[in-house]
Symmetry: C2
Subunit: 191 residues, 2 copies
């Protein structure tokens, strides 16, 4: 909870009223590994802030293969943002990949915060800017780099995630198969 307030204060200066308001509607919730917070086809009400633990969002292709769009650890936001920002049913799933603590914000509450506290509008814009930066970088990496190089970038960028995430989730984020990632790791060791 302080986690969230500190995060916001890292980007903007937060008025006492805004802090009070946000605290009042924030309820930390414990969820356990494997729990599905958003399922394909549902209308999406919530965006989640991760206090601790790890979630991921992923889609499923026509051969039933999963593809991870995003991981979210402590201090990150996650949802099916496609669904949230377009008001369409979810095309993604969001699940906890370990026991976690989160705060759920429904879209109405967030809209209210935006209209009550213009400062929050700035916070949100900066978040979105950072988000765009990371997505642009990811797309460029996907276009420019080999699977092996992408894996190394991933390790450098998210060393924590590698620790407790099964390999096939990382593979599905990198756009390769579990087997290929295993071979990449083997190759890495023989050096």
């Amino acid at each position: 909870m302080e986690e969230l307030i500190n995060k916001i204060k890292g980007s903007i200066t937060l008025s006492a009223e805004a802090e009070e308001h946000i605290s009042s509607i924030s309820k930390v919730k414990a969820i356990s590994k494997g729990e599905l917070l958003i399922g394909h086809g549902q209308m999406v009400k919530n965006t989640y802030f991760v206090i601790d633990g790890c979630l991921r969002s992923y889609g499923i292709d026509k051969n039933d293969k999963e593809h991870t769009l995003q991981f979210a650890i402590k201090g990150w936001w996650i949802s099916d943002f496609i669904a949230v920002y377009t008001n369409e049913p979810a095309t993604l799933n969001v699940e906890a990949i370990k026991d976690s603590y989160i705060i759920a914000f429904n879209t109405k509450d967030l809209d209210e915060i935006h209209s009550l506290f213009p400062e929050f509008e700035v916070f949100q814009r900066k978040n979105l800017e950072r988000h765009v930066v990371s997505l642009h970088k990811r797309i460029m990496n996907q276009l420019k780099l080999t699977a092996h190089e992408r894996y190394n970038v991933f390790l450098k960028q998210y060393p924590e995630i590698e620790q407790f995430t099964p390999n096939y989730h990382i593979a599905s984020y990198l756009g390769i198969t579990q087997e290929s990632l295993s071979r990449i790791r083997a190759e890495q060791l023989n050096k």
Copy 2:
């Protein structure tokens, strides 16, 4: 120019003062095919709004191959957003791929607009939200679909762009080579 004002009004209601202010700093500029607006390594001052024509942003890998990150046609914004939002030197290039009309906004002017007109903050947030949606969709397509399927999605999504864009630019956007795209197109015709 009206192009821009109408675009803004499509998202938010714009006060007369804000409209006046924005108009006063907007200068439409003609640029010709091949012109480079942003070059790798430079500090990036501007974000461009396209009145007419087409630009693209792209990066170059260690084998000197180009990879297109974004196309921008009438009504779109383009820049090296990684550089703009992080204040780092450009990692991308931005060039006109046909004769175009644009408005250049430097970052200071945009910041000023944001602080003077809170309504613009909302506009910017909605733009960023749409941007995030399109990036998420693109990443999911890259993970889920074959090159052939991605090409069809591209055609459906940007029919105008296909008309005047050389094939190798489209290929570099899709993450395949010019030759592969040519074969995909040939296959498409034999059906």
